[in-house]
Every structure is written in C-alpha cells, then in structure tokens.
C-alpha cells in the first residue's frame, strides 16, 4: 500500500502561540521499503506518524492510501485495523490483559476467524517475536524488551501492509533494539511499507531510505 502526502500542513496553537510543525509536506511512501525518519526533538516526527495513522488531523493538504482519501474516525479505524500496525515507545499494552490477550485485541473485531484460530494465530505471532514461553504473562511480568515484542506481535497480527513505529526502541537496550529493528526489517522485505522514527543512528544500517524531518519538511538523505 502506497501512502501519499500532498502539501500537508499542521500547526499547533497553544496559549495563542502558533507552532507550524509540518509545512507543505509532500512525500510518497512505497511498499517493500524500510523508511527511517530522523530529526531533532520537536521537529514533528511523532506528529507525522500520528497523521499517517489517522490519529491526528492535519490542517490542509491530502493524505491518500493507494490514492484513496479516508474520512473520519470510523473509516480511519477500519484502515488501522486492517492495514496499519502501530508500535510506540511506551509499548501501549493493556495491563489487565495477558500477552496473548493483548496480541489478540485487534482480532476481537474479526468475525471471520473462530476463537481457536485466533488463539493459534496469536500464539504464532508471539512465537515469531520470541515469546512463545510467556504467552500468559501480564505486562507487569515482562521486561521492557519483551513488552515491546508483544506490541510488535499485536501490530503484525492482521498482517497489515503498513507498519508505523515511533521510537520503538527508545526504552530498550542494544540487544533488544537490534531484535526489534530486525523484525521490522523482515516485514519490509516481505513487502510492507515500514516507517520507523528513531534517534538512534544505528537504524541507518536497516533503512532503505533515510528521511530527515527539518523545518517542517522531509528530506531524503
């Protein structure tokens, strides 16, 4: 799935002070590509990721997925469910749910699969991220790296065409960071459009395209 941003503008207004974060930003993200987005703190990387995920509205411009424009919460929710996997720095797991229940969460909205199939599928994804022995653990009972693996498994559960990650390794050590990047890389090789925001120069090793967000615009490097 292609993502196309056309002349996208985003301005935050707080206490009367305007902050023009994205300025006429245009870019086209292609499938089968690992994009690394870097940029100074406050340059608007998270803003961009949330706009791409449909979680944040922009002021002017167009956002198209395979040339289609999506409107409203219901349409974007459906798009996220089927086609976008999201990974954030803070893992964002439901603390009351076990690892497998967290991974299965998006499947609650899937009526085509039987419950058994859902469990099998979730187990399989947890195995891919190396957690087959901690399926029934609650987030509290997992390390940061393990929690992020659960989040990755959840992002992959519906086999989305797009994966967006905002500093997925921000809280992790080098070993875990490497594992996560490798998992994401593998997805891009399998045809997905993977967009990862990171401060870590280490990501350059995995990136097919390195993008810098600066002064509200994206530059390829």
């Amino acid at each position: 799935m292609k993502i196309k941003l056309e002349n996208c503008n985003k301005t935050y207004i707080k206490n009367g002070i305007k902050n023009h974060v994205l300025k006429d930003l245009s870019y086209e993200f292609e499938p089968s590509t690992f994009y690394a987005i870097m940029g100074e703190s406050g340059s608007g990387k998270s803003t961009l990721i949330n706009i791409l995920a449909g979680l944040l509205k922009f002021d002017t411009g167009n956002l198209k997925f395979n040339n289609k424009i999506y409107h409203g919460d219901v349409e974007f929710s459906k798009l996220r469910l089927r086609s976008i996997g999201l990974v954030y720095q803070s893992y964002l797991l439901n603390e009351q749910m076990t690892a497998i229940e967290n991974v299965m969460l998006p499947l609650y909205l899937n009526n085509d699969l039987a419950k058994k199939e859902k469990i099998l599928l979730s187990q399989e994804k947890l195995k891919i991220v190396g957690l087959s022995n901690k399926v029934e653990h609650f987030p509290k009972e997992l390390s940061g790296g393990e929690q992020q693996r659960v989040a990755v498994a959840r992002a992959l559960i519906n086999n989305p065409e797009i994966i967006l990650a905002d500093e997925p390794t921000g809280n992790l050590d080098i070993k875990n960071e490497k594992d996560i990047f490798e998992m994401l890389k593998k997805e891009s090789i399998e045809g997905k459009c993977v967009i990862v925001v990171s401060h870590n120069p280490f990501i350059k090793k995995y990136a097919d395209k390195l993008l810098i967000l600066e002064n509200g615009e994206l530059y390829e490097k």
Binding site: D73, L109, K118
Partner: protein
C-alpha cells in the same frame, strides 16, 4: 452482540470493582420500585375488592331529633326497593366475651353484630337462619384490643373454628350470665371487610338479649341504620320528609395507599436521581481512568463509536444482572411482605402482596431511561479524548 466482543466486555466487567457497587445499588433501587409499586397496587385491589364486597360500605345511618313516629318511618323505609335492611342500635351491635379463648394474648372479647342473612360469604357450615345462631370469621381472633397498639395481634395466631362448628359456645354477654350461641357457619374474611373479632347473629337475637340484659339502652335516641342495595342510591333517603341527612357508616380510607404512593414515589425519584448521578460519575471516572486502554483500542482499530458500544453493552449486562437478581428478591419479599411488615395490622394483614406487571414494567422504564441518560452523558467523554496525546502520556 458479536461473540468476540463478549469476551472483552466480560473481562472488563470482571476487572472493575466499581461495577459491583453499580449492580448493588441498582438491585436495591429496583427492589424498592418493584415492591413499592406492587404493595401499592395490592392495597388498591384490596380496597376495591373489599369495597364492592363489604356490606358495611352500603350502610348509612340517620339521626333525627324530632321524630314523632319512629316505627312508621322504619316501616316505610323497609318498603323502599333500594333498602335491604333497616335496624336500630339494639339490633345492631353488642359485645361479649368467649372465655374459652382467653389467654395471655387475647382477652376473648368479641363484637357481636346483628344482620340479615345473605351478606356474608359462608365457607363452612351455613348462614344464620334461626335465633341464637352465630357465624364467625375464618381468621378468628377474639380480642377487643385488636386495633390498639398494645395488642398482641398476629394474623398467624388467629383461631380456626372448624372444630367448633355446630357447637354451642358460651358467651358472657355484656359481662353478665353466660348465654349459649350456636356456631353454625364460618365466613370468608378475605372476601370482604371484617375484623377478626366480629361475629354475626340475627337482629332479633341481639334485640332479645338487649331487652333482657341491657334494659337501659335508649334506642329512641340512637340512630336508625339502613342497608342499601348500593351506596350510590343513598340519596333516595332524602325523599322522605322525616330525613334531613344521612351519614355513611364506612368510607374508603385511601390514606394508607396515598402514603405508600407518596413514600415510594418520592424515594424512587430521589434514589433514582442519586443512581443516575452515581452512574454518571462512576463511568466518567472510568473513562478517565481507562483512557489509556481506550487509546490502545483506538490504535488497534476500534472506532470511538465501537468503544462506546462496548461500554453500553457492559452497562446493559450489569443492568440485566441486577434486574434478574432484584426480581427474584422482590418476589421473595412480596411473598413474605405480610409476615414481615403487616403481621400486626388486623385489616392489612389480609392483603396479598403480588408483584404486578405494572411494577416490573415501570421499573424497567425508569431504569432504562436512567441508564440511557446517565451513560450517554458520561460516555460522550470518550468523544472528547485526544488519542494522539494519550499515546504519549
């Protein structure tokens, strides 16, 4: 509801201790509404039925000071087609003691009413046919203090006269020599308005006894009692020039019913308001507390509309649970209502409290409205959540 979401909702229900509070409060509230409304409608039925069956409601009396020819008026009245019975004080009421029923709870005193036959529904034996025959109520309780607060009345301790049927009972009439009255029948006191300490004999029996033992009774100064075919026709009495006004013996006393309606009505309103506010605040707090989980749902593809639906379903499940429990408890309370609350009231202990459809229906309507308004209002907070900010908190 889609099968998959059920698991999620059930898990949420399980994880939330405040739900227990909501269910509990809803149960109490619904019991109040169901039992209150049922009690009210039972009282209403009780009075309506009693009114149509009780001859006392068709009874009036007249007091005329300058009546020259009392006997002539009585005779004229007896000829009126709307008049079923005419009698005077000495044929109407007296008192006696049945010593064999005296014990620490009962003083054995009964009221003896004079009547024509055919006004009581006999369930055992026969109606009064001859003098010195007597009929008594099925739930018999011979105690003159029955309407006093210090009485030991308990409807469960009423006496069955089955074994005494066709026997002569010794009665001390106005505290004098014992006389004998034959118990020929037992009448249904659930059917009309009867006190448990009232037995009936013929007018003539009373008159004879009074002539003998109460010679000083000034009947001429007492009222004349008239039993009409229907109290609606009472105005025919005013056609007689001797009669200036009449007074009804008994009029329906709606006070108890009105009190019940007022108490349950007001407490339902207040309690309902409190529950509405409670649910509103609890769910608002939950939306706030669970905003992170809501954000998680949102980012894996649940629309806000769907998330709100999850909460609605949760509320519906909680409500259905509380409704079922409340209904069961209400049936139980209604079944024991008389035993628990009305056992010492001679007239109200005859009420049968049954859960009315009207009560259940009313309860449903009130609660659905209550839940709809309070949950809609509190869940609208979900729309105001800013997911993209919550993610970074």
């Amino acid at each position: 509801m889609k099968n998959n979401l059920k698991d999620y909702i059930l898990m949420n229900i399980k994880n939330n201790k405040t739900n227990l509070l909501i269910v509990l409060v809803l149960i109490i509230f619904q019991i109040l509404v169901i039992v209150g409304a049922s009690y009210y409608s039972s009282i209403k039925n009780f009075w309506n039925e009693f009114m149509s069956n009780s001859y006392e409601f068709d009874l009036v009396y007249i007091i005329e000071e300058n009546l020259n020819n009392r006997e002539a008026l009585v005779k004229k009245l007896k000829e009126n087609p709307h008049v079923k019975d005419v009698f005077q004080y000495d044929e109407f009421i007296s008192f006696g003691t049945l010593k064999e029923f005296q014990d620490e709870n009962k003083n054995g005193e009964i009221e003896l009413f004079g009547t024509i036959s055919g006004v009581k529904k006999i369930v055992l034996g026969k109606d009064i046919e001859k003098n010195f025959e007597m009929i008594c109520p099925a739930n018999f309780y011979p105690d003159s203090l029955i309407y006093n607060n210090n009485s030991n009345y308990n409807y469960k301790n009423s006496i069955s006269l089955r074994d005494k049927l066709d026997q002569k009972l010794k009665m001390n009439f106005i505290g004098t020599m014992p006389i004998e009255l034959k118990l020929v029948g037992i009448f249904d006191d659930n059917y009309d308005f009867s006190s448990p300490n009232v037995c009936y004999v013929s007018h003539d029996t009373l008159k004879q006894l009074n002539l003998k033992y109460q010679k000083d009774l000034e009947v001429q100064e007492m009222p004349i009692y008239i039993l009409l075919d229907d109290i609606q026709n009472a105005d025919v009495l005013l056609d007689y020039e001797e009669i200036t006004e009449y007074t009804k013996m008994k009029e329906i006393n709606r006070e108890v019913g009105d009190k019940v309606i007022r108490i349950t009505g007001i407490s339902t309103l207040l309690f309902g308001l409190c529950i509405g506010l409670l649910i509103y605040f609890l769910f608002m707090r939950r939306v706030k507390n669970e905003s992170r989980n809501i954000a998680i749902l949102s980012l894996v593809g649940f629309s806000k509309k769907k998330i709100k639906k999850l909460y609605y379903f949760e509320i519906i499940i909680l409500y259905v649970m509380s409704f079922v429990v409340a209904l069961i408890i209400s049936y139980f309370i209604a079944f024991h209502f008389v035993e628990w609350f009305l056992w010492n009231s001679p007239s109200l202990s005859l009420i049968k409290v049954v859960i009315s459809k009207f009560a259940i229906f009313g309860c449903l309507i009130i609660n659905i409205l209550l839940l709809l308004i309070s949950s809609k209002k509190s869940l609208s907070k979900i729309d105001e959540l800013n997911i993209s900010e919550l993610i970074y908190e």
